[in-house]
Symmetry: C2
Subunit: 364 residues, 2 copies
């Protein structure tokens, strides 16, 4: 063991750890330097592996040995401070605990941030305005490089004033006023993809169970459904569009209305609605997909992959939302003129669709 400065009153003897708490002040660059018998800048140089400033092989060895021996960890805050920029990026989420959606956004954002040497400062606000304001302040005080402001379902948001103090990108949400950049799912294309899942199997009379809640999902997916119908040369029949609460209860209750329309297939607003509809159909002796083909939306694994039969659905690109949001924030992707990037909602085929009676599936 090399001698170190060893000053200060709260120094306890003995090598590694005391009981708990690890009260020992962390090892500093200076301590490493004096242990290795070199200056701090030399240590700094070998740690950061600067290309210029060649260090003598022997010196480098000694420094590295000292680092290892002392268990030195650079102090990221000191480093950030002197470099004048933090490696933090804030991510505020409004609901981390209810669905896996926010988790997927975080996952995507973190993977991308990580790749570029950034660290996520995550704040869960559970839609509480105070928590949100506090979170943003906290991030601002940590001099984040920017903030990703995300919601667990696609919606219009009011941009908190404090957000504008830094660079920010809206993820899975958007602002009324122009300006803020946003990354959102392409609801229209998603709706189209859902309908096409059915059309491709030859279905021509398809119901659309929409949500009762006004939202981009409600308007967008319906439009996508209409577009797909039009493209398939099928006249849009408003009677086939039904409204239901966007959960299992809503799906269950809409069963009779769906059945009354004599459709061969149905697009549900989301997987939960489809789950409720499954129950409703079963109670009425109807089979999926033989009597009615069902398509969901969200691709919520715990539901879609495990219903019987497994549910064909359209995936919401939460992970990608996080990734692309991060890329936009870092200036790696551009949003274009609209200030928005709309991400694809890919269809996920499973077993809830069959060819309707008296129809031949369309080749493609």
């Amino acid at each position: 063991m090399t001698e170190s400065k060893n000053s200060g009153p709260d120094d306890d003897k003995g090598p590694a750890s005391s009981a708990r708490g690890r009260s020992r002040r962390p090892v500093t660059l200076r301590e490493v330097a004096s242990a290795a018998g070199v200056s701090v800048s030399t240590v700094s140089l070998v740690i950061n592996e600067k290309k210029n400033a060649r260090i003598g092989a022997e010196t480098r060895q000694r420094v590295q040995a000292a680092i290892r021996e002392l268990g030195y960890r650079p102090n990221a805050m000191a480093k950030n401070l002197v470099e004048g920029n933090s490696r933090f990026i804030g991510l505020v989420a409004d609901a981390i605990a209810t669905t896996p959606f926010a988790g997927q956004i975080i996952h995507g954002a973190q993977d991308e941030a990580w790749k570029h040497g950034y660290v996520l400062l995550v704040a869960n606000t559970e839609a509480d305005d105070d928590a949100e304001a506090e979170s943003i302040s906290m991030m601002l005080e940590h001099k984040v490089r920017g903030i990703l402001y995300s919601t667990w379902y696609h919606r219009l948001v009011e941009v908190p004033a404090a957000l504008t103090e830094t660079d920010f990108v809206l993820v899975n949400c958007f602002a009324a006023e122009p300006g803020p950049r946003a990354v959102v799912p392409d609801e229209v294309a998603g709706g189209r993809a859902a309908a096409e899942l059915l059309l491709r199997q030859g279905h021509r009379r398809i119901a659309f169970v929409n949500t009762t809640t006004p939202s981009p999902a409600r308007e967008g997916r319906l439009r996508g459904y209409q577009d797909a119908l039009t493209a398939a040369g099928i006249a849009f029949d408003p009677a086939l569009v039904l409204d239901a609460q966007p959960d299992q209860g809503g799906g269950y209750e809409i069963t009779d209305a769906v059945l009354a329309q004599q459709v061969t297939g149905v697009c549900c607003h989301n997987d939960r609605v489809a789950m409720g509809l499954y129950d409703g159909l079963r109670d009425r002796g109807q089979r999926v997909p033989e009597d009615l083909a069902v398509v969901g939306f969200d691709n919520q694994e715990v539901i879609a992959a495990h219903l019987r039969p497994a549910l064909s659905t359209v995936a919401l690109p939460h992970y990608e939302l996080g990734v692309v949001g991060m890329r936009v924030l870092l200036g790696l992707d551009q949003v274009g003129d609209l200030g928005r990037i709309a991400l694809d909602c890919p269809p996920v085929e499973r077993d809830s669709i069959a060819t309707p009676p008296a129809a031949t599936p369309i080749k493609r």
Copy 2:
């Protein structure tokens, strides 16, 4: 506007924001001081509202005005640096994106951390060892006050070596060796609670669908079930314990085996298994709860609250795991001699249990 030092080449004119990027260097204490015509220490004093060192009312006004006018935000990193302690606490999670479980742990941990002025540094490792090591390094370099190491399901873990460089608490997991403090769900009590849900309604012949995966949940819940039986004066019958994959498929496939035992009630390893069992029962013309009472585990909202009939189950205390883990880390709660705190798994009564034929529910 007051004059400021105004040096450096990347100073652009104009008040608030330039287009994007907010390239302006953040306002510093010194700038506030010179704007207010006082010294930095005075500004520091009014910001931190120190009890000693009374500041003249008029001075305070001027400083506060300057702060507001300049939009000053303290630099948390500089502050942490000089104070010699960060306000960070790390939280590593192994699966933030698949279930809502990790989200709930994070939620609990953050609420508690927040309350004590700490900020969470969250890292999602998706069970990747490299990501985990990198995450912990990152946290250590930010001189976190400590780390919460969490898993999405209760299990034995190997404590990563780097963790021991700081204070840490295991959340929803535990180590083989003694030492590391851990906060976990009380599986035995949970299993007992599940069985009691049925026993209380008068069921006496109760199947137990266990998981095939060795785990504290597997052993603990079974023991709880046995304990509850014993307490109710019912002999344990090993034939009633069945094994199934811990998901919907497993539940579905075990249906016949359950039915073969002529039980009136069944405890499932988790809500997913119960969901599969519902399907299996329905396919065989059996009704829940009239023909068979079903109890789940986990209280996974999207399933338990929305199955038909709604599933009675036992909740896993993820949020509380986060809270208590944080409290232990902060020294607010003690773990006792075992080095472990086991948290209650409260029963959640819904509609999947009825009184069995020829039985009177037990009063309590």
